[in-house]
C-alpha cells in the first residue's frame, strides 16, 4: 500500500496526571500524528509483525527517531526526545500491530 505523504491523520490520546504517559495501538497503514508538541517517545512495541514494508517514527521536524525496514515483533524502550510532535508512518502490504507510548509535559489534550 502506497501512502500519501501529505495525508496525516491526527490521533488524540488522553492521559492521567499521575503518570503523564500516553499510549495507543495502531493496526493500519498510513501516517498518524500522535503528539503535536514536544514529547518523549518512551517505547515502541511491535506486537504482530506485518509484511512487505516499513515502520518509521519521526518527530514533527521530520527527523527519524526509530525505523524498522522489515517488520518483526519486539519491544524497544527508547526514551528519546521528539521535537514539536510525534508521527508514525506505517507502509506495509499486511499492516503490523504497533503499540506506542510517549510522555508529554502535562495532561492537556492538544
Amino acid at each position: 500500500m502506497m501512502i500519501d505523504p501529505f495525508k496525516i491523520k491526527d490521533m488524540y490520546v488522553g492521559t492521567e496526571p499521575a503518570s503523564l504517559m500516553r499510549g495507543c495501538q495502531i493496526d493500519q497503514c498510513g501516517q498518524f500524528r500522535l503528539s503535536r508538541r514536544d514529547c518523549e517517545l518512551h517505547s515502541v512495541k511491535v506486537i504482530t509483525q506485518g509484511s512487505s514494508g516499513f515502520i518509521e517514527l519521526s518527530d514533527w521536524s521530520g527527523r527519524p527517531l526509530w525505523r524498522q525496514p522489515s517488520s518483526f515483533s519486539g519491544s524497544f524502550v527508547l526514551g528519546c526526545f521528539a521535537e514539536h510532535g510525534l508521527v508514525i508512518m506505517q507502509e506495509m502490504a499486511v499492516p503490523a500491530s504497533i503499540a506506542i507510548s510517549w510522555r508529554e509535559e502535562d495532561e492537556l489534550l492538544i
Binding site: E40, L41, H42, L65, W66, R67, Q68, P69, F81
Partner: protein
C-alpha cells in the same frame, strides 16, 4: 590482531581494526537539547559520526536491521588534524591499567555484525561519543537508533 602504527606511539593511536583504517570524514551530529528524555538518532548509512563532544551516558541501542559490517562506539574524539585518538597507547592496550577507563579512544561497544534487538547499556563516557559504522560485504548498512544523554550535572566530588 589490531595493527598499531609504531610512529604514533607517543601521540596517539589511529584506530585500526583488522587492517581497515578509519577513512572518510567524521560527521558531527548536532541535536537540540532535549526538554525531556534523551537524545536519539537513527544510523542509516555507513560512516564516522561524532555524536557528543563531552561527557555523558550511552543509554542504549535499538537495532532493527542488521545490514552488514560492524558497529563500534568509542569514548573519545578523533583529533581531525592528525586522524588519531590522542591517547597513551600503553594504557589503551592494557585493559587492566588503572587509567584505562579515562582513555580517549576507549571502545565502549562493538558488534560485528550488528545484532537485532534492544540493547540497554547505561555506559558513561568521559571525552565524547564517536560512532564508526564500517561497511561489510554488501552495501546494506544497519538501521540502529542510538540513545544517549549529555551530562549536565557537575559532580561535586
Amino acid at each position: 590482531m589490531d595493527a598499531i602504527d609504531p610512529t604514533a606511539a607517543t601521540v596517539g593511536v589511529k584506530y585500526i581494526y583488522r587492517g581497515d583504517e578509519i577513512r572518510g570524514p567524521i560527521h558531527k551530529i548536532t541535536l537540540t537539547i532535549p526538554k525531556m528524555g534523551s537524545k536519539g538518532w537513527v544510523l542509516e548509512q555507513f560512516g564516522n559520526y561524532l555524536l557528543e563532544d563531552g561527557p555523558g551516558i550511552l543509554r542504549g541501542l535499538a537495532c532493527t536491521h542488521t545490514g552488514s559490517g560492524s558497529l563500534e562506539l568509542i569514548d573519545g574524539i578523533v583529533d581531525e588534524a592528525t586522524g588519531f585518538y590522542p591517547t597513551d597507547i600503553a594504557v589503551l592496550q592494557n585493559h587492566l591499567h588503572p587509567k584505562y577507563h579515562a582513555c580517549n579512544g576507549r571502545r565502549v561497544f562493538f558488534s560485528s555484525g550488528s545484532v537485532m534487538g534492544m540493547w540497554y547499556l547505561g555506559i558513561g563516557f568521559h571525552h565524547g561519543l564517536t560512532l564508526h559504522a564500517r561497511g561489510g560485504p554488501s552495501a546494506a548498512p544497519p538501521c540502529v537508533t542510538i540513545i544517549w544523554d549529555k551530562q549536565t550535572i557537575i559532580k561535586a566530588y
